[in-house]
Symmetry: C2
Subunit: 433 residues, 2 copies
């Protein structure tokens, strides 16, 4: 084998590594033969020089090879679909899409992650439901998908261990922000978890990892290419994260918002639009033999006829949770915030609201922080809304009055009001296939 | 303290670190508190983003602070001078300059390194002398400089340990080639070793680390700035390394060349020119109160009157070596190579000849290789020389006939002959003060 230092030097100088060389680096690192410091230097060189499509695919395949993989088709006798979001504020889409897809008769199986910083994680949201278990074995996962049609569990520890090891290193060496490294990390997990049809929700905006549409497109293209290389059908939605998704930010508040939407009680338009479009795409990737438009129609139908809500409740119970709305934890202080002036909402910083929710205790600053599942924000203001003085802007769910007061002050600064009507912007900015 | 990952990220993004932050990184690494992988990522970010003059000085000072330092003025009651070369092929200048400076009445004290790859190291050359000891304590070093006027020993292990640790890491993470990192590494050693006047010989050409005059100037400027920052008087000579220096390449052959030159038996013009100019500069930096021109004149005088040779012999004996020419090891096979055609020498690749010498066994590929002190090359051809058929080109000193034959073939390819007379090029290309 070529010395790792020579591979690092070649990448540093803008050269290309062979798939075999990439594999040796990554699997050598996973097995402990190649030390962290060499991979740290390599990742920093990749940050500056990038990876070619061939290198990125080799990296993804090496991650997949490093652990076990699920063959859901062999287990279930049919194709399973999955969805992934790059993370945002108030993003509870998976909790809606899973039941919608399953209610339409297509198996949905997803391994998910926890939140860090201003973005929440699907597992944390699910764990706000008393009794809900996310740490299930691969066998339990498969059995749930078979019996209920939907399962969302934590990342299995024996999947993509090389990615896990490298990601932990990237996290402490300022080498996370590299599009090919992000693409390989995400896609290796999706490929190893066994779904054949995958919808990727790439968030764009101040509350997202990708701040610009150009960067989001690059990440989406890289992931589509990796999906093709691995024989999976992939669709990428580039979606707006300049404002929070839906109204609720905070774990139990978001679960409640999902349940209310599925029950037809209260429906945030942006979440509805994204959920039915993502579901339509997933159904079009499934073995139903329908297109995305028909898929979206069926998603709306299972919402209307109550079968999505029934599937949601069955799923929550199947993973040990209590689906009753009153089972969710509630915060001791609920503070309402009203508009002072008349005008139109020009901006509501997703990043800013994500940080306020983090300060209320809804998220974690470091991996070891505990989360308060009950706290958070319901922000009713949406970009373009016409406001009248006294109209509710937001509801703050807090541990105490002082933190609610601080949050209210911050939120008032984060909502920009203007005299001009604002043009509408759709939630799905672009679709890449 | 700020998290190391944040410092790495700031540098990665092209920002600047404070001197205190640089110190915390470097001393934290030296003490083992900050892991290798974070410094590896940092050094790769520095490779791409560089360091400011203030950051480079802070890095140098942190290296110096990490260990003990010598105060040679306090020990000897006067200023000591030192010289450093960035490394080349056939570079035995220190072995000439040390005795010249001492014979002129100025104390010369140098800590030196070993060779790696195609460049030789001063310690390896000295160790080809039977009995010569390079591993001396700081006390022995000072006593030798006092008694003999000249000492060259191995780097003391308690000097700049942070540089040693970081250099070992850079060596295996492809982060050696960074001008500010090189400048800080060299200058921290020179500053810690206590000389007040320092001549830096920055080699330029295919056999040197710096391939272009522009890069060599950048390195020289960075080191001059660090010298000023540390209150040392520094002069930089940019010197030609497109062809080997002198004729001999290989450890005992080079020591023999030095002795013959000091004895007035045989004098390679380029080595002579560089040695007397470097000595002149060192004397001008000393407490003699003379300028470089007068210094060069005195260097020539101690060569002429035999006092340089006498100092050389006294020095070799003082460090335990046998100064008799016949004490040096000799190779079993000596193969002569003659010119085939008439013409002028256009090029003799220093890098190429360095590699041939390495293959003969004169150098080490990895740190743990053993060296054969007897083998090497005497290459008589110099750029611009007019050649007649049959005229000696080179002499190969080898372990066996087969390796001599292979070396001869390679050398013939490395000497480019042309029909045109070649313009002369001086050995010292530029002097920066």
């Amino acid at each position: 084998m070529i010395r790792p230092a020579e591979l690092i030097e070649r990448k540093r100088n803008g050269g290309e590594l062979t798939p075999e060389e990439i594999r040796e680096l990554v699997l050598g690192h996973a097995s402990g033969e190649i030390p962290d410091y060499q991979l740290a230097a390599f990742c920093m060189a990749v940050y500056f020089r990038g990876l070619t499509a061939v290198e990125t695919l080799a990296l993804t395949e090496a991650f997949v090879q490093s652990g076990s993989t699920l063959d859901l088709r062999a287990e279930l006798g049919r194709a399973v679909v999955d969805k992934h979001s790059t993370g945002g504020v108030g993003d509870k889409t998976s909790l809606v899409v899973g039941p919608l897809v399953a209610a339409c008769g297509v198996p949905f199986g997803k391994m998910s992650g926890r939140g860090l910083g201003h973005t929440g994680g699907t597992l944390d949201k699910l764990e706000s439901i008393p009794g809900f278990r996310v740490e299930l074995s691969n066998e339990e996962f498969i059995e749930l998908v078979r019996a209920v049609g939907v399962a969302i569990i934590g990342q299995s520890p024996d999947l993509v261990p090389a990615d896990k090891r490298l990601y932990a290193l990237r996290d402490v060496t300022a080498t996370v922000d590299s599009i090919p490294l992000i693409a390989a990390s995400i896609m290796s997990k999706k490929i190893a978890a066994g779904a054949e049809g995958i919808v990727l929700d790439v968030k764009v905006g101040d509350g997202a990892f990708m701040k610009s549409l150009a960067d989001a497109r690059m990440l989406a293209e890289a992931m589509l290419e990796l999906g093709r290389g691995a024989g999976r059908e992939v669709v990428c939605l580039l979606t707006d994260m300049d404002q929070p998704l839906g109204w609720a930010i905070g774990n139990a508040l978001e679960v409640d918002e999902v349940r209310r939407m599925l029950a037809g009680e209260d429906t945030p338009p942006d979440l509805f639009s994204l959920a039915v479009q993502a579901t339509g795409r997933l159904l079009a990737l499934s073995d139903l033999g329908i297109d995305a438009e028909e898929g979206t129609r069926r998603a709306e139908q299972v919402l209307d006829d109550g079968s999505a809500l029934a599937t949601f409740s069955r799923w929550i119970e199947a993973q040990g949770g209590d689906p009753a709305p009153e089972a969710l934890p509630t915060a001791p202080v609920v503070h309402e915030l009203a508009a002072d002036d008349e005008g139109f909402v020009a901006e509501i910083s997703a990043l800013g609201l994500g940080r306020v929710a983090l300060e209320l205790g809804a998220g974690r600053r470091t991996k070891d922080d505990a989360i308060d599942h009950a706290v958070g924000i319901r922000c009713f203001a949406k970009r373009g809304d016409a406001l009248a003085p006294g109209q509710p802007l937001a509801e703050i769910h807090a541990r105490d009055k002082e933190s609610a007061r601080r949050a209210a002050e911050r939120i008032r600064e984060l909502v920009t009001i203007t005299g001009e009507p604002q043009p509408p912007r759709p939630i799905v900015l672009e679709t890449l296939v």
